[in-house]
């Protein structure tokens, strides 16, 4: 591993991801600076979720490099036929994931643990903190997402919006350098979307570095300082929200935006 002297939280160069014969990501470059709030838009099948999942190695990039704070993750390998691919060490990926948190569309809360148990789990099992310390920290995170009074509730007793807020608290508890949101409101009833978006908005105001894959264009406009529009596995267009959402250059971006008729600033 080499250290590059730059302030990037994460640098992605030439990232490609292939599932068997299907190349989903076809070379993506991205620098994430501290405090960046990047919204990733694109039609379904554009590769936006796969891209996000490559950044905490839920999916392993086939080729291309990912650096976290200047450190390369994984190693390049040249195969006998001359092509290269990446190899990853599971222990290294485990360490990376402690610094790159993720919030899922389906929450993925642990149903056999209470809300506070879910938030404590990483603190206890991964960070090895004691019960009291972990409980205090977890309660603080639950309070931050407005759910301190639900600490002892099991996920089955929570609404979708509450579940997602617990999941955000669980990710926050690990104090990640970078937080990834994979369509965090897509599985929610419309009336529950707002409470989750408010929590994400508050995190943005704290200056957290975040990447968000979403279909909520209105939210993306207010949330992000940069917008990426993905199509067919490449970044077709990127820029500020005004640039991409109000004055798109590419025909496909225009068509995508026109298709979201609920879109309003």
């Amino acid at each position: 591993m080499t250290t590059a002297p730059d302030s990037c939280v994460m640098r992605v160069t030439g990232l490609r991801k292939r599932f068997d014969d299907n190349e989903v990501l076809k070379g993506i470059d991205l620098d994430v600076q501290p405090g960046d709030r990047i919204a990733i838009l694109g039609a379904s099948g554009s590769g936006k979720s796969t891209f996000l999942r490559c950044l905490n190695f839920m999916e392993q990039p086939t080729t291309g490099r990912v650096q976290l704070h200047g450190q390369f993750i994984g190693a390049e390998r040249t195969r006998r036929d001359g092509t290269t691919d990446n190899v990853y060490n599971e222990a290294e990926l485990t360490r990376v994931r402690q610094r790159v948190g993720m919030v899922f569309q389906q929450f993925n809360l642990f149903p056999h643990m209470t809300a506070i148990g879910n938030v404590m789990e990483g603190l206890r099992t991964v960070q090895g903190k004691g019960r009291d310390e972990a409980a205090a920290l977890a309660l603080k995170q639950l309070a931050r997402v407005g759910l301190a009074e639900k600490a002892e509730a099991y996920p089955s007793r929570l609404s979708g919006g509450q579940k997602q807020r617990v999941a955000i608290a669980r990710a926050l508890a690990m104090e990640p350098d970078l937080l990834l949101f994979d369509e965090p409101t897509s599985a929610l009833d419309p009336e529950l979307v707002g409470e989750v978006l408010r929590v994400i908005r508050a995190l943005a105001e704290e200056g957290r570095t975040m990447l968000l894959v979403t279909h909520e264009l209105g939210f993306a406009y207010h949330f992000a300082n940069r917008i990426l529009f993905l199509a067919d596995g490449v970044i077709l267009e990127q820029g500020t929200p005004d640039e991409v959402l109000k004055n798109p250059r590419e025909a496909r971006t225009k068509a995508f935006l026109a298709g979201h008729n609920e879109f309003s600033f």
């Binding site: 599971e90 642990f110 149903p111």
Partner: protein, 221 residues
């Protein structure tokens, strides 16, 4: 029917029956722990995508599922000592036969149970930096075990009853003692009836206890 019932000769051998019960319980305990532990390991191998783990685990499962336990016990007792430089006691032969068979069957229960847990649970665990082992121990198995409890209970009952096969190599357990009492007193009806009843009296409350545990776990959901 003018059969003269002779339960007295059975009950005068209470000590022998207790020795048998203790032998049965010991064999049961060893085989339950060894069988289920090995079953978990083999089940994880069957769940694995790695050929190096999957293939041997599958061979193990298919071999031991498709050979009779009694044959295995006899093989370990009579054939294995010819091949290895140490004595094989009746307990060891019975333990090997029953544990390996139970491991093969419970491996499929573990594999199915782990497979039944949503992939998102693995991802949720890995996303907070858990290793595969931590995710398995803290997140996957606790949920899978609830679903696996009924089939694992059945396995436990089977192991308990399979312990009688150890009588084939003269291991001191309940059936072996019953056989002795029956042949000494010419009272097979009484001796075997009492043996069967002892099994029932021990097993029935155990099974009820696992039902209660299942209900308790379901309430926690």
């Amino acid at each position: 029917m003018n059969y003269r019932w002779d339960f007295a000769s059975v009950f005068s051998n209470t000590d022998a029956l207790l020795a048998g019960l203790s032998g049965t319980l010991r064999l049961f305990a060893i085989c339950l722990v060894a069988g289920l532990t090995l079953g978990l390991v083999v089940g994880l191998g069957r769940y694995s995508k790695r050929k190096l783990l999957y293939v041997p685990a599958s061979i193990f499962v298919e071999f031991f599922r498709n050979t009779p336990v009694l044959v295995q016990i006899l093989w370990f007792y009579f054939a294995l000592p010819i091949l290895v430089p140490f004595e094989v006691s009746p307990l060891l032969a019975a333990t090997l036969g029953i544990s390996l068979n139970s491991a093969a069957f419970s491996a499929e229960i573990f594999r199915g149970g782990i497979q039944s847990i949503d992939r998102g649970q693995w991802e949720g665990a890995r996303a907070i930096g858990m290793s595969g082992g931590q995710a398995l121990r803290r997140v996957i198995l606790p949920q899978a075990l609830r679903r696996m409890l009924p089939p694992l209970t059945n396995r436990g009952i089977e192991i308990f009853k399979m312990s009688t096969l150890a009588s084939a190599v003269a291991y001191v357990e309940l059936l072996q003692q019953g056989k002795l009492i029956a042949s000494l007193n010419f009272n097979p009806i009484e001796a075997y009836t009492v043996v069967a009843l002892i099994f029932f009296v021990v097993l029935f409350p155990l099974v009820q206890a696992t039902y209660a545990l299942e209900r308790k776990l379901r309430r926690a959901d």
